[in-house]
Symmetry: C2
């Protein structure tokens, strides 16, 4: 349907769930799936690319589960979307102009390239840590 599919939406919520629980050791997928109302079997497939990308770490066996591999502030939403959607662009031709014979003289291409730029800039500016903050912001000086 759209650039932001359930993969990104579920995946981001999954990461936020992990982040909000902090470093208490791995959390099993079933409990997260239940809390978030996401089909566990579906979520199980989303974690694979997240692990391959080094965003999360998994522990097998009893008491196993998943935990963040980095600080939430170091995980940009852009990276999550790219990893889960399997692509980084809204349009093929902005990444690979050679795929379209018209790209050299296409008046619309700059429009889409510009759109992609604003999308990337925005998503890169937001991290999992930014949205996972479970408590009030830090009011100390």
């Amino acid at each position: 349907m759209s650039f932001i599919s359930t993969r990104s939406r579920y995946g981001l919520r999954f990461l936020i769930d992990l982040a909000q629980r902090g470093a208490l050791g791995p959390i099993d997928l079933g409990s997260i799936a239940e809390r978030q109302g996401i089909p566990e079997t579906y979520l199980a497939k989303l974690v694979v690319p997240l692990r391959n990308a080094g965003i999360i770490r998994s522990a097998r066996g009893a008491k196993g589960g998943y935990e963040l591999a980095r600080s939430p502030a170091e995980v940009a939403v852009l990276e999550v979307v790219e990893v889960l959607e399997g692509r980084s662009s809204l349009l093929e031709c902005t990444d690979r102009p050679e795929l379209c014979a018209r790209s050299a003289d296409c008046p619309t291409l700059p429009v889409w390239t510009g759109l992609e730029t604003v999308v990337h800039d925005y998503l890169a500016s937001v991290s999992v840590g930014d949205v996972a903050a479970p408590r009030a912001p830090d009011y100390s000086i």
Copy 2:
């Protein structure tokens, strides 16, 4: 595949083709389809919503065809995309939070709403006239 499908891409190129030919009376679909390398039968379906939206005007009968109903500068790319994609948002829940029971307390919703804002702002800032300019810009004072 993505938010920007062939409907928007073809449609925008179609409008630019119209704009670049100026007010010389209606242009028939076949010649545009051929020039742009778009299947005429497919393009024929894209023009219907564009006409309903008041972006183009059609003339039936011999020597008929299509022409812009407004000045190219008055047609924002945002409007074209909304009309052709049949929706205005990248995500349902940003428009209709009532569709998701979690929207009231969803930490990710602001992320998507913010993304949508930057996308809308960008697309609203670009008009068909901006990209259709067939010649060098006006250097007069």
